[in-house]
């Protein structure tokens, strides 16, 4: 696997100016790109700081003293910062903060990133309509963004991040304000996004385990565990830091193990372990 397909962090530490302790300390990991990575951990564990580092917000927008090297395939955020939106789509925890504050209609809001790239009106119009259809916002195109409902605003924020077809997507706790139906729709949509590198932080352990390819577990700025959800929750020295998903609790208490002795963590593995899948 050549370097362009690798995500690698080597002894990465980040400290905000005036902060007593490092927000991230000594992160080291090497993993293939083009997968969905879930980032888990208690509050103050450094999840948001890691998202800011990977996207280039640190140090481009937010000053911080960063040590160590980090690579996202061939992308170097600081080098091509002016055209960053071509490579990275970032979705904030609070979608309202994502809007440009200058658009009278949903369509103009979605077009903002493309106008900044200097694309032609027709190309922008086509792209915006396609995304509006994909995110059920087609009838809201001429509506003022401020009048959207919570769920619509969340979908608009995601659409704005995707409009430039970026290779890397970063979601910082996107479903915290969504109701259960909205949350399951989001993770279902996320599961079938292919050949993109996606980072998603969340406290919803069950949804993450069912969706991601691998998990990074942070605690107080350190990477305490990483790997597939199955590997992480079947480790003997599993820390009490992260509550296990319901699938794992159920299977471990009922003794439903997978052929290799691990207990299932995702719904698919549960079906396999209980011999239900057709």
């Amino acid at each position: 696997m050549d370097d362009s397909q690798q995500i690698s962090l080597n002894k990465v530490s980040v400290a905000y100016p005036g902060a007593e302790r490092n927000q991230l300390s000594d992160l080291t990991i090497k993993t293939p790109a083009h997968q969905i990575i879930g980032i888990l951990g208690p509050s103050n564990s450094g999840k948001t700081t890691l998202c800011r580092l990977l996207s280039g917000i640190i140090p481009q927008v937010m000053r911080a003293d960063v040590q160590g090297e980090y690579r996202l395939g061939t992308l170097n955020p600081t080098a091509n910062w002016a055209e960053i939106n071509r490579f990275i789509g970032y979705v904030f925890q609070n979608p309202a903060d994502q809007l440009s504050g200058m658009a009278e209609t949903v369509a103009t809001e979605m077009a903002f990133s493309l106008v900044n790239l200097g694309q032609s009106a027709s190309a922008i119009d086509a792209k915006v309509r396609a995304l509006a259809r994909q995110f059920q916002l087609i009838d809201q195109l001429n509506q003022n963004p401020a009048t959207l409902s919570g769920g619509q605003m969340q979908r608009l924020a995601i659409a704005c991040a995707l409009v430039t077809d970026p290779e890397v997507l970063i979601f910082d706790d996107p479903t915290s304000q969504m109701d259960p139906v909205g949350t399951s729709q989001f993770f279902a949509w996320l599961k079938n996004q292919h050949d993109k590198t996606i980072f998603v932080t969340s406290t919803n352990v069950d949804a993450l385990c069912n969706t991601v390819d691998s998990l990074w577990v942070l605690n107080a700025g350190q990477l305490v565990a990483s790997g597939t959800p199955r590997k992480i929750f079947n480790q003997p020295a599993k820390s009490e830091l992260i509550p296990a998903p319901v699938v794992f609790n159920l299977a471990s208490q009922m003794g439903w193990a997978l052929p290799d002795g691990d207990y299932p963590v995702t719904q698919a593995e549960l079906m396999e372990a209980t011999g239900h899948e057709r």
Partner: protein, 260 residues
């Protein structure tokens, strides 16, 4: 997505076919003129022109509402200048044995007509342009997008700050602060309302600054797609800049001729 207008699209109201920058230059000229010239006839002429402008654009109702702010002020000007203008000589009328002088009243008339003409010519700009029209046109004539953003986003941030304020007032009432009762309670409510409001407004501006940059805000080859066209915009700009130069030049000429 409105497609780009190629030829001069005549909007229904003639005033909307004049570009925003011309209207702003008009306001600047009237301001400059009233700063430089104290003559009554000049001020009355300018007032007449601005009233005609407002009537022709059929925005007199809205313009009058803007005037309400200043009517009380104009009344005090007439009162104070009428009685106390330093160059008062000839008594015009006495009311409740208060002596009103001709010179003072004329001076007050000059001041008031200037204030009214500024309000009228500004309302010509306010009530015949929209925020997006201003933003698009400023960028179209070459104003860097960063500057346009700073100027125009103010109009969008205000509704959001007011919404934040209402949420905070409700939240603080639940904690025992009641900002709507007597003056003492209102003063005591200043800190509990303003601190969260300002912190939240500044935090949101941090988030927005990050979001903007992530969406390519500082990209040099940004290309606005919409092209607005107006009636003889170029000509109007040059004409008004010339007018401003004339106003300034004439004043300097008058000062020099007095000295020599």
């Amino acid at each position: 997505m409105s497609d780009s207008e190629s030829s001069v699209v005549l909007r229904q109201n003639w005033a909307q076919n004049i570009d925003p920058v011309t209207k702003l230059l008009l306001v600047a000229c009237v301001l400059l003129g009233s700063l430089l010239y104290k003559s009554l006839t000049y001020s009355l002429v300018v007032l007449g022109l601005s009233v005609f402008l407002v009537l022709a654009a059929r925005i007199q109702a809205k313009a009058l509402r803007l005037i309400e702010f200043s009517l009380f002020l104009i009344a005090t000007i007439v009162l104070i200048q009428g009685l106390l203008y330093p160059f008062n000589r000839t008594v015009l009328l006495t009311v409740f044995h208060l002596r009103f002088y001709k010179e003072g009243l004329l001076y007050a008339l000059m001041l008031s007509s200037r204030l009214l003409s500024i309000i009228f010519v500004t309302s010509f700009f306010i009530f015949t342009t929209t925020i997006t029209e201003n933003a698009t046109y400023l960028e179209q004539i070459g104003v860097p997008y960063h500057t346009v953003y700073v100027l125009i986003s103010v109009c969008y941030i205000l509704p959001q700050i007011n919404k934040n304020m209402r949420h905070i007032q409700v939240a603080q009432r639940a904690r025992g602060v009641n900002p709507q009762s007597n003056i003492a309670e209102q003063v005591r409510a200043i800190i509990p309302i303003l601190v969260p409001l300002i912190t939240k407004t500044l935090m949101q501006s941090v988030e927005r600054s990050t979001a903007l940059q992530l969406r390519g805000f500082s990209n040099p080859n940004r290309q606005q797609t919409e092209k607005l066209t107006y009636y003889r915009a170029e000509l109007a700009h040059r004409g008004l800049i010339l007018l401003a130069a004339l106003l300034g030049g004439w004043k300097i000429w008058m000062i020099l001729s007095k000295l020599v």
